[in-house]
Every structure is written in C-alpha cells, then in structure tokens.
C-alpha cells in the first residue's frame, strides 16, 4: 500500500486531486490543510509522496519542504509542489526547496497522475 499526502488548504483542490489519484491501484490518500498539519501527520505515519501547495495558513509549502528536508526521519520523502503560476522562478524555487516535481494550477490531471506514478516507482 502506497500512501499519498495531499497538502492544500483548499477543500476543492484536495477533492480534485483525490478523484484523480484514487484511481491508482494500492494507494491510500490522506489530507492536511497546512504545512504544520502535514508535518504532524508525516511524523506519525509513513508517506510515499506528498502533493504540496504553496500558499497555506500557518505554514506555506516552501517552509514545509525545508522543514521536511531538515528532519532526520522525513528528509527523503518526495514531494510535488503546486504553484499558481508557471514562471521559471517558481519552478526554480520549488526545486531549490527540495521538490521533485513542480506543477502549476490548475493542474492537468494526467500530469498529476504521471508525476505521482513516477515518484511511487515501478508498479505505480
């Protein structure tokens, strides 16, 4: 069972991502509404991939990624970062923060699915 954590303050985005990803075999999907909640969940349970929004209350996505990379248990979890613009600068910033992939909103469902499958490794 592979576990995906959707990190976004938008209920609708989480619902949309879930509707795309729940079609994947053997996945369990959980949600967090901001970076702090994401860290709390990730500390308690293992996740195979994170989908991370940028602008969230309490802790934004870049800070979340930086905190993950500092954490002795969580540093290697791959993350897809989602931003509202598709500027070059946003992509650089996402990768600099430790994202494995970057998508812009509204994300194309096929791009999302493929990114997750790639990060889950063979058999995704």
């Amino acid at each position: 069972m592979r576990r995906i954590l959707l990190v976004d303050d938008s209920y609708t985005v989480r619902l949309y991502a879930r509707s795309i990803l729940s079609a994947l075999p053997d996945v369990e999907i959980e949600e967090a509404q901001n970076g702090v909640e994401a860290l709390e969940r990730a500390i308690y349970q293992h996740f195979d991939v994170l989908l991370v929004d940028v602008n969230m209350p309490k802790m934004d996505g870049y800070t979340l990624l930086r905190e993950l990379r500092k954490h002795p248990q969580l540093w290697a979890i791959p993350a897809i970062m989602v931003t509202t613009e598709n500027k070059e600068a946003d992509r650089h910033r996402a990768y600099a923060a430790g994202a494995s992939f970057h998508l812009s909103k509204p994300f194309d469902s096929e791009c999302l699915r493929c990114s997750v499958v790639l990060l889950l490794g063979e058999g995704g």
Binding site: T12, V13, N55, K58, D60, Y62, T63, K105, P106
Partner: protein
C-alpha cells in the same frame, strides 16, 4: 535532588525590566543583533499605538520567525485600518512564509479590512487577488458571500475564480447555488473549474 521549590533567584541573569526601558529604548532595541532582544522589544511596544508604523516597517525586513510572529500579534492587538492597509501591502512580498503569516492576521481583522476589500480585489496581479479572496473567505463579515460571488462571476483569471468558488463552498447561501453552478460556463474547457463550481454548489446544498 528530586523536587525542589525555588526560593531565590540566585544564578539567574537579571532580565531588563519593562519599566527600565523607555519607548525610545525599546525602539532602539528593535535593531538589536539578537532576535530574542528584538522580540521582547516588540512585545513591550504593544502599548504604544504610535509605534505601529515602525513595527510594520520591521515586518518587511525581519527574518526571524518568532520576532515576526510577535510583531503580527502586536499589530493584531492594536488593529487599525492603517495597520490593515500596511499589511495588505505586504501580500505582494516574495516571501511565502511572510505572506502566509500576514494572511492569518488579516483574516482576524474583519472591520479594519472591510473598506479595503473592494480596491484590493481590483488589483492587477492575479496572485494577489487570489490571496485577497482567500483572506476574504475567512472574514467574519456579512458581505463576504456577495463579494465572493461577484469575483466568481466577473474575475478574468480562472485561478482567482477557483479561489472564490472555494470560499463560496464555505459560506455561500442557498439562493446562490444556481449562479455558482453557472460559473463553470465562464471557462469552458477548464475541467477544474467545472469541478469547483459543482463542488461548491454541492457543499452549499449540504448545509442545514
């Protein structure tokens, strides 16, 4: 060894007492090299309403998260329309952590933000409008759902419309359901917007 009850302050560094420092001392301390000193200065400046503009200035350059949080708590306690105006200006910062922290505080200043909402919703940058919509959706004001519906029906940028639909899902009224569904037709070929409009209408419909 074991449980002890403290009977003296021996061994403790004597903290500078609040009363030992004037407003001018505190303002000078805002520039201290140590974050802990800057933080205490911010806390102790809370009673001086006339220093709030300086604290807003500090906010734009302060990098320490705890000092930043203390500044925002102090600004929130003072809360004025001028503070709301300065904070809404900071939404255009490149610093995502600062934007997130400012949005949290703006959402708790509904009366002070009220008269700024409409001009803010007309700003050119769609990313800014998204942030404003997100804050508006969290405000405790009776006009929120009308503002959000207006944005959903009129804003040119699909991501701004999506943010407004998200807010309407939280606070829209039953009378708005048909109009909310109709927003999907504004951007044909955008599956996410169709999904959003539907989800928002569904959430409104589910509320007692």
């Amino acid at each position: 060894m074991g449980l002890v009850k403290r009977t003296s302050k021996s061994g403790e560094k004597r903290e500078l007492r609040f009363r030992d420092r004037s407003k001018e001392d505190l303002l000078a301390q805002l520039g201290d090299a140590q974050a802990v000193e800057r933080r205490w200065a911010v806390r102790d400046l809370a009673e001086y309403a006339d220093t709030m503009p300086m604290l807003c200035d500090c906010l734009e350059t302060e990098k320490d998260e705890a000092v930043r949080a203390a500044i925002l708590t102090t600004l929130l306690k003072q809360r004025s329309p001028e503070i709301a105006r300065r904070l809404s200006g900071i939404l255009s910062s490149e610093d995502a952590a600062l934007r997130s922290a400012v949005m949290d505080v703006l959402a708790d200043m509904p009366e002070q933000l009220d008269s700024l909402v409409e001009p803010l919703l007309r700003q050119e940058d769609p990313d800014l409008r998204i942030m404003v919509v997100t804050v508006v959706a969290r405000l405790a004001l009776p006009t929120v759902s009308d503002w959000l519906l207006n944005v959903a029906q009129q804003d040119a940028h699909p991501n701004v419309v999506a943010a407004a639909l998200e807010g309407l899902g939280e606070c829209g009224t039953v009378e708005m359901i048909a109009n909310v569904r109709a927003v999907a037709t504004r951007f044909p070929g955008n599956p996410y917007l169709a999904f959003s409009a539907d989800a928002a209408a569904g959430r409104i419909g589910q509320r007692p």
